[in-house]
Amino acid sequence: MELAYSEQYRALQGEVRAFIAKYGHLSPKPGGGRQRPSKKALDWQKLLLEHGYFARNIPAEYGGFGLPLDVLELAVIAEEIAKGGVYPGIMNQGISMLVPTLLEVGTKEQCAQWIERTIRGEVIWCQGYSEPESGSDLAAARTKADVVDGHFVINGQKIWTSSAHYSDMMFLLCRTEPDQPKHKGLSYLLVPMNAPGIEVRPLVTMTGRATFNETFFTNVRVPTDQIVMGRGEGWHVANVTLKYERLLLGDANRLSARLARIRELMERTNLDGQRVMDIPEYRDRLMRLQGEVMASKYHGLRLLTEQARGEDSGLKRLIVKYNGTLLGYRLSSLAVDVLGAAGLAYDAKDEAAETDEATAWHIDNMYDIGLMIGGGSTNIQKNIIAERGLGLPREPKTAPATRS
């Protein structure tokens, strides 16, 4: 047990600090909305890439820094960037999901064509997986693509395409082999969002904001070579993509920061003439959550260590997302309660929404519910934990089974 970094990583810490001291003034503000990266963000991204503080482990031929994976290096860089208060680089579904998928199952040509421009923030991707009738059951996708003279002709509808309104491309899961069983009839296509026949409509959520979209396809034509792996192999490719989504660590630092903000809120909020912190029934909730956040945080360090050693963390990794989202929801629920009646003024439509403390907490609280639902619902996650993590038997196939 050693919580300090060894010399090699302290050296990297120093490098990153020096970089921030020298270039930090060029960084855009961290956080910020869902929109195309600004010129400033693109320039900063270039600096990060040049120094290997972004795409550190992506081959140099595709625009990365070409170093072998060392998760401790990545942790050090992330920590220093967070401490320095600078922008950690562009994060979107193209970078976190499509790029590793292409590296794993794409052709050399596809890697060369897309990766560099994607990690530089020049090409923005959105994800075309969910449909209104297939949420947790992704393999039931009905959006279809028929082949007509060298093109896929796509018709159907996707939902939850978050950045569709400003994306250049979509990675799309659709049905190309209607005669095949459910899981064998899908393909994974790369579709330009400016193709004729694509319509993007904003999707308003319970928060009152339109941070998602629905995307409609009417006879959208894409050349048949815009496919990853072969026809009918889309389910396999999509699972590669989802694997990378699930690999993202639950962010314990975010939970700790949230806890600290609630603590501070409880110290300055009054209820019936007392500080909320001095009302034991509320404080006990905070203290319980502190215990859980600590467990989650140290569990994260344990995983990081195992990852650095190349160990398979199994169950320990599978629980992270479910644990983190539920904890996040309970934290924001406490915040909402501490704000109480005085925190019921809410206007999420305004651009200033996120600067109003009460509105921001309510949005977080609702968004936390969305997180529990999205990206594999809670029930599916529990199945995975039980079956892959604990080795419990799968549910038997049902008798009047749909062939699959």
């Binding site: 319970m206 909320v276 309660d337």
Partner: protein, 364 residues
Amino acid sequence: MDFALSEEQKMLEASLRGFLADRLPMGRRRAIAAAGSGHDAELWTGLVAQGLAGLIIPERHGGAGLGILDAAVAAECLGYHAVPGPFAASVVMASLALQASGTEAQQAAWLPKIASGEVRIAVGFASPVGQTGIAKVALEGTRLSGRVQSAIDGGGATHVLVFLETGQPALAAVDAKGVRATLLASLDRTRPLLDVSLEGAPAIVLSAANDALAARTRVLDAGRVMLAADTLGAAQSMLDQAVAFAKERVQFGRPIGSFQAVKHTLADLATTLEPCRALVWFAAHAQDALPDEARVSALQAKAHLDDVGREVARLATEVHGGMGFTDLQGLHYWWKRIDTNRQLLGTPERCRHEAALVQGWISS
């Protein structure tokens, strides 16, 4: 022994539900909420015609002369249909305050106007009632100064009633000089709160109660029961919607309601929620008929429904999957209603604390 709604109460319920099912489809609710005023003249006129505004006002003042249990039945309907518009404060608490603390002349002047729907009264407290926010009002002569940050039932309010620290209610018109009443863009768009600033505002003080603080407490407890009943209705609606969705929605070739995880979630919610109805009925009945049980039951009904409501809201939304998170489904109107009720007139923690005090289990 007959622990049940009367035939009249069942008719009231059926009539209101019929009216609301007919007049308040999702699109209409959405439109009124989007307008943001918390008041819709047409819907309000219809509800007044249903007798809602005068429900607990004596017949001689133009009301139906019913009790708190009847009002709770109505509140459950309003919660069930997430009805935009005032009720708990504007109708029940204000009418009760006038009856408890108004002179006969004051009652004769105001109650008929409440019953006719013409006067709508937001209600606030200038003393601790277990909610956060600024609440401080001073009376000089008949003029009020101060601020009540979160008065309830701001939608379409013509007046505001503020309980002073002494327990006396004071009534002021929202358009009077010295009154600045700002309708808040509230989490629950169907029932916006009112931020009331007073600078020497002219007011009518209601001073006829023998024990002003006791009278205030009765009004407050009745309000708590109304919010509990509203949450009961809202939670029941969310559960019903989730059950219906689980029967229809097919994933993996089966209705999702056939999966044990979904099934047991819904069974848990039903098991927790169903007994709440009897608790709300009892608490409402106690306000009318069982003075020894009135306080504890109001406090416990509020606290328990706040907690059960939140759990139902979360899990009923989860059962809906992504659709539950959209505005399309509209489930969030109920979510926000439940969350809002929780924060008003005493949070669950504060209500339970007060219930322990009231029973003498602890000393203050």
